[in-house]
Each structure stands twice: as C-alpha cells, then as structure tokens.
C-alpha cells in the first residue's frame, strides 16, 4: 500500500447555536483521532446558526470520513469541504513588536509591504494587525522577528467560497455528503 497523501483540508460547517455544540464537534475529532490544525466558530447573519471553519490535515479518505462523521451530529446542519473549490481563506493576527521611536518608521514601512496596519503605538512598541493567509502572516512575522516580537495572537482560519453560490443555502437544503469510492 502506498502512503496516502496528507494535505490540509478546509471544512465549512453550519451548526445550531446551542450550548455544547462546540464540545460535540471537538469531542468527535478527539474520539476519531483527527487532529485539528485550526478551528474557528462564530455567529452568522442567520439567527441561531453558527458557522465553523475547521482545518485538518488528512488524506482524501479521511477527509470524506470527517465530513460524514460531522454529518452524523444532530446539531450540524451542513458540512462542506471547500479545499478544492475556489475560495477565500483568511487568518487575522495581532503582533506586538519592539519599535523604539528611531526604528518605528522602518517597522511601519515593512508593514506596508504586507498591507498590515499599526493599530496601537506605545512608547517603545507597535501593535500590528495583519489579515491574510497563513503564509503571508508567517512572512511578516519572519521580517519582524529581528526587531523583537513581544507577543502574537492569531485567530483560527475563516474561509468562504468565491462566486455567487451560497453555502448558507445548503444549511437549509443540504446535499447528501460526498462519498469517494
């Protein structure tokens, strides 16, 4: 048997906004031994419905089983693996970097290259906000490292497919899960 190729899969799931739902999903991943790379939950424009973006490292078979197992949870309204679809994937990060007055403009210039914004200025520090893919965030971090990164926080990944197809509609009238033989 050849070793299966592990890639990052991004799932978008709509779930009922109820106590314990996040626990059910986290418990499922633990129970089935799926390791979460990133998990993000938040409310949507629909009352009572939350949206989750889960990034998991898995081969194709495992990805299909993750999808099917998520579907089995009663509070999960729809699941979609959007990895192969044209999509927008974003993380947000806040980075607190050492920036004494004499180096401040240098830091700000570098930030501009990454389209990052300064959101707070202290006597010796800057807090920089950056939005983008994981690669871009890591790129800025590498550049800022020599100045002295004091603190960093990053959200989980959020993702959405491009174009006019709404996956929210699928939460109301979902397809059956895909099965790859």
């Amino acid at each position: 048997m050849t070793a299966p190729t592990m890639t990052l899969h991004t799932f978008v799931a709509y779930v009922e906004d109820q106590p314990g739902v996040l626990n059910r999903i986290a418990s499922l991943f633990r129970r089935r031994n799926f390791n979460i790379v990133s998990l993000n939950v938040g409310r949507t424009h629909e009352p009572g419905i939350s949206r989750m973006t889960v990034v998991i490292e898995a081969d194709e078979d495992k990805a299909r089983r993750i999808e099917a197992n998520l579907y089995k949870l009663v509070n999960v309204l729809s699941v979609e693996d959007i990895t192969e679809q044209p999509n927008i994937v974003r993380d947000i990060a806040l980075i607190k970097v050492k920036a004494p007055p004499e180096r401040r403009s240098e830091v700000l210039q570098l930030c501009q290259v990454f389209r990052a914004r300064a959101v707070d200025v202290g006597p010796d520090t800057l807090v920089v906000e950056i939005t983008g893919t994981q690669d871009k965030i890591m790129g800025l971090l590498t550049i800022l490292e020599p100045f002295g990164v004091l603190e960093m926080v990053q959200s989980g990944t959020v993702a959405m497919t491009r174009g006019s197809v709404s996956s929210a509609a699928k939460a109301i009238a979902p397809d059956r899960p895909r099965i790859v033989a």
């Binding site: 078979d61 099917a68 999960v76």
Partner: protein
C-alpha cells in the same frame, strides 16, 4: 394524575387523553413515554429521579426494578433487540447514571435503539459538584447517538420525542435524556403535540443514485466467485425476506457476521455460516478467493477482516450501508450504496440474473469437507462434557426455535457455531463492545418483549457472575428465562489466548464459582447441575417445564478452545485449527471440589 382510569390502553397505542392539563414535569415524562408506545421501563430510583417515580403509579407503564443500573441498560437493550422497538431504562443522577454507562456503550457499538432517562441535580446546582452530580451528558457524549440535558419543564416533551425519533431512525443507537429535578417538579399547562419531530440537522434517510444501483446489478451478474455478507443491518432493516429472494434468484452463497446470524437461515443450502476470527474455515478461505463481495449492513469490523492489507484481495466490494461514515473506514470498497438495506434490495432484486457461479459453489463445498470445526461433535465420548455438546444439544432439544441470549467469550463463539439460527432476532449477543454480564439482563428484557418465546441464556461462569444479582429481579418480577451456565472454571477466552499467545501462563483466569444450585435456591429459583452428556436432555426438559427461571450449571471440559481461530491482526486464512488428536481428559481442578461436587 387526575384520571388514571382512562389509561388502560391497548398495546403500543398512545393513551387517548387530550386537551390542556396542568401537569408536573414528572407526570409529563410518563405521558410522553406512553405516547411513544412504551409498555415497560427498567430502572432504579434515587434522589434526582424521585419526582418521576412518584408519578409512575398513574401510568400504564410497567416498571422492572433491577439490582444494578447496568442490568437496566442491558434489559432495555435486550428488549430492543428482540422486538425492534425502543428499549427504555431509567436511573437517578450520579452513580445511578454512571452505572448505565457500560450498557449504553454496548448499545452504541451494536446500533441498538435505546432511550435512557436519567435524573439530574436541580438546574441551580449544576456545576457546583452537588451531591450525586455527574456531568452525564458530558460522560455519554462519545457513547450515545445523541444526548439532551433538560432543565425546563416545557422542554421535557420535545426532548423525549426527539430522543425516540433519533434512537429509532436511520442507524439506530442510544439516546440519553438527562432531566433536572426542578424540571420534574415544575408544573406546566401541557398538551401533547403529536406532530412529527423536526430536526433540520438530522437527515437519516439516504438513497443511492439510479446509476449506482445499475452498476451493482451489472457487477452481480458478471461475478464468477461472488459472496453475500449478511450483517446486523439486514435484521435491523427487516430485510431478511428480500435477502432470501436475492439468494433464490442469484444462488450466491451467504456468509454472516456474528450480529447478522439469523438474518439468513442457517440451514439454507447457500448459508456458509459465520465469518471472521472464529468463523468457519471454509468461509474465511472463500472470502480470500471471492471476486465479488456484496456486503449488506455490516461494517468490516477487525474481528471480521483480520489483516486489512491482505483482506479479500481478489474481490470487488459493494457496500450497502446506511451510515456514510462507515464507507471506506476499514475496507476500501468499489461501490458504496448508501441507504436502507431493504430499500436497496427492493430496487436491486428485480433486476439481477443468475451469475454463472456453479463451479464456485462446488469449490466451496470442497472447502467445507476440509473443515475441522465440527470435529468436536465426532470426538469419541471420553465421558467428558464439552461446551459444544451442550450447545448442540440445546439446539436439538429446542428444535432451533429458542431465543438465545449469550454472554461474551468462548461459549458465545460456540453458540454461534453450533446453534443454528434460522430466524432473525432469535440470537441476542454483545458483538461490538463484547460486554460480559450482558446475557442474563438482556434475556430478561427480551422476555418482556417476547412473552411467548422460549428464552435461553447461555453464559460463561465468568460473565454470569458479573450480573448474577439480577436473579433477584427475575424472582421478584416473575421473569422466566432458562439459564445455561457453561462452567469451565476459567475465564475461558482469556485462558485460550494465554495458552496460544502467552506461553500457557494462566494469570488471573482460573475463577471460582458459587454453588449455582444453591444460588438459584437462595433466590427461590431452581438449579440443576449437569456433569455428563447423558444428563443434558433431562436437565433441559426440567428447565423448560419449570414455570420459574431455572439455572443449569454445565460442568464442561476446562481447557477446551474455540477453533478455528484467526489470531488478532493475522491474515484471514491463517487460522489455528483444532489439533487432530482427541483431547485428553482435563486435569483435575480443585475449584470443582467445592459445593456439592462429587
């Protein structure tokens, strides 16, 4: 409840009382249960469930007081397996609830529809580590199909309705409804809402595509060495008739999983018997040679497949399965057909022809000739009683018609090999979880589901002792079952593994039993001790004639093993076979010198 006299209701029909009433949550619980068709619950009272118990007398539901909550869960499980309906158990919060856990996990592993109602500390105390507080929805999260915590009286009816719907639809499973004591005590202007449950995120029904069905038919028609696998799903979907039709049309031989036994008649000429770790040698060999496997409602458990890398290497696989999460989980399949086994067979059977597999069937017949599994029946009578003899005789004397409930271990495998089940729901056994102690309570549940059946518990001396306390329940509740204890003085299956794989070091496997005749008598029941094959028939007849639960202590050969055996993880056709020379008489074991022995 104001008018209990309005409650005498025919079996399964909801009580007719309608209109708005002011009821406590406790009374609502029983009203909703009645309207789900519940006739009996198995339970044990305690602080947090006392309000509910206080309202039980106003209901038409029978309550069976168990001796340990694990027994309640297994009884509900046995009731469900025997009837196909939802079994219900009830327990209080904390230790009462956690004692259910083994039984709930057991039902989960075997996809059994069950609802467990538990009391919970008042909602104001949740999270405070109150007396007898356990986070039971937390504990049961990974071992239930779904669970619900109810903290308000108005949520009781919807929660119980949801629980029954989820437990019994799709791939069945256990559902826990944990109800706080204050929700039970609150009152509500209540009217039962008979409308169907709506759960937007729960869609248990599936349908394969027309082209997938067509492809399946083509694969079947073109096969040269096809096999059908009959799993538990065939029984759960009530598809046994359609399976029989499929076999009559195609002449394809059928192998069965442990939980599938009875899904296809054992005495049918195309029935091959059980597959897997203790499956018939010819079945496992045939699986490795087959060119098509049509797997119906089974999940390619590791006890069925052995080494996955070498499993059925020549076979294309069609997997008929309701649960998408089972597809490609263990065995990669060529054509998954997602849906109810019965629906799919109904669509396939009219279109299949008869594949040309006569040479294949002749070949399997030749393989059968090579098998050693039945040899024990042909062993010269050494004066020793073998478990296989007991089970084979039980099959003969009950004409194969008994409802048999087994425990877990060697006797369970011998039962599967020597008691031929021709009908579904006549063998109840703990397959996925392998829960020792299952047999007696599950049989008691089955008794209440099937009052007319002859019921036999077949249990080992180890497993029986785990839930033997339920004999007291048999006595108090007048529940009649026949109990055959296959007593070999060992935890036999573990001993067998120690013999095969651990250098014969019998660590912690010799086990002493009480005097079962006296144990039965202590409960006001009858006990019989059988030491030779000539006594089997009379003992079985006595048990059948006795209106009360009867125990038979069968003192069988102590160090016999189950053959053939595929060691865990080995190739399916790498079986350990019964050694050819007959077994020597077993060494004398001091454990048998106790009680009334000799």
């Amino acid at each position: 409840m104001a008018q209990p006299s309005t409650h005498p209701t025919p079996q399964g029909t909801p009580s007719k009382q309608t209109g708005m009433r002011t009821l406590t949550g406790a009374a609502i619980i029983w009203d909703v249960l009645e309207r789900q068709g519940v006739e009996v619950v198995f339970g044990y009272p305690g602080g947090a469930i006392m309000p509910a118990y206080d309202k039980l007398p106003g209901s038409s539901i029978r309550h069976v007081l168990v001796r340990h909550e694990q027994g309640a869960a297994h009884m509900a499980d046995g009731y469900a397996r025997a009837s196909g309906r939802v079994g219900v158990c009830v327990a209080t919060s904390g230790p009462g609830a956690t004692n259910l856990v083994t039984g709930i996990a057991n039902a989960m592993m075997d996809s059994i529809p069950m609802v467990a109602i538990t009391g919970q500390v008042p909602s104001t105390l949740i999270g405070s580590d109150a007396f007898q507080e356990v986070d039971f929805t937390g504990v049961t999260l990974p071992i239930t199909k779904h669970n619900l915590l109810v903290t308000r009286v108005q949520d009781i009816m919807p929660a119980i309705k949801q629980a029954f719907y989820i437990a019994s639809s799709g791939r069945p499973g256990p559902v826990v409804v944990d109800i706080t004591k204050d929700a039970q005590n609150q009152t509500l202007d209540y009217e039962y809402d008979p409308s169907p449950v709506r759960l937007p995120g729960y869609r248990p029904e599936r349908q394969p595509l027309a082209e997938e069905l067509k492809e399946a038919v083509e694969m079947i028609n073109e096969a040269k060495r096809p096999m059908i696998f009959c799993g538990h799903g065939v029984i759960e979907a009530n598809a046994t008739g359609l399976l029989l039709e499929l076999v009559h049309k195609t002449d394809i031989p059928v192998a069965l999983t442990l939980l599938g036994l009875g899904g296809f008649p054992a005495q049918h000429p195309r029935s091959l018997g059980m597959m897997g770790m203790h499956g018939e040698a010819w079945v496992n060999t045939a699986i490795q040679e087959a060119d098509l496997i049509i797997a119906l409602g089974m999940r390619f458990d590791d006890r069925v497949t052995g080494n996955l890398k070498t499993y059925a290497p020549n076979a294309k696989k069609i997997h008929v399965e309701l649960d998408p999460a089972e597809i490609n989980k263990n065995v990669k399949v060529d054509l998954p057909l997602l849906g109810d086994v019965r629906d799919i067979l109904r669509q396939i059977v009219p279109h299949v022809g008869k594949p040309d597999c006569a040479p294949w069937i002749r070949h399997i017949e030749e393989l059968k000739g090579d098998s050693a599994v039945r040899d024990i029946q042909d062993l010269p009578d050494s004066g020793q009683l073998f478990a296989a003899h007991v089970i084979f005789d039980l099959w003969r004397y009950t004409e194969g018609k008994a409802l048999v409930v087994t425990d877990v271990g060697q006797h369970q495998m011998w039962e599967a090999q020597y008691y031929k089940h021709d009908h579904p729901r006549k063998l109840l056994t703990s397959g996925g979880a392998g829960t020792m102690g299952f047999a007696l309570p599950a049989a008691m549940g089955a008794r209440l589901a099937c009052p007319k059946d002859e019921i036999w518990v077949i249990a080992g001396d180890g497993g029986f002792q785990m839930t033997a306390c339920e004999l007291a329940t048999c006595s108090q509740e007048n529940i009649k079952v026949n109990v055959a204890i296959i007593n070999n003085g060992f935890l036999g299956m573990v001993r067998q593994w120690q013999q095969f794989f651990y250098g014969g070091r019998y660590v912690a496997t010799p086990i002493k039993s009480p005097d079962y005749v006296m144990l039965a008598q202590a409960h006001g029941l009858k006990g019989i001790c059988v030491k030779s094959r000539s006594e089997v028939k009379a003992a079985v007849e006595q048990a059948r004639a006795n209106p009360e639960t009867t125990l038979i202590d069968f003192r069988v050969a102590q160090e016999d093993s189950v053959y053939p055996m595929v060691p865990a993880g080995a190739d399916l056709d790498a079986m350990i076979r019964r050694p050819k020379p007959e077994l020597k008489s077993a060494p004398h074991n001091p454990i048998f010198e106790t009680g009334d022995d000799e």
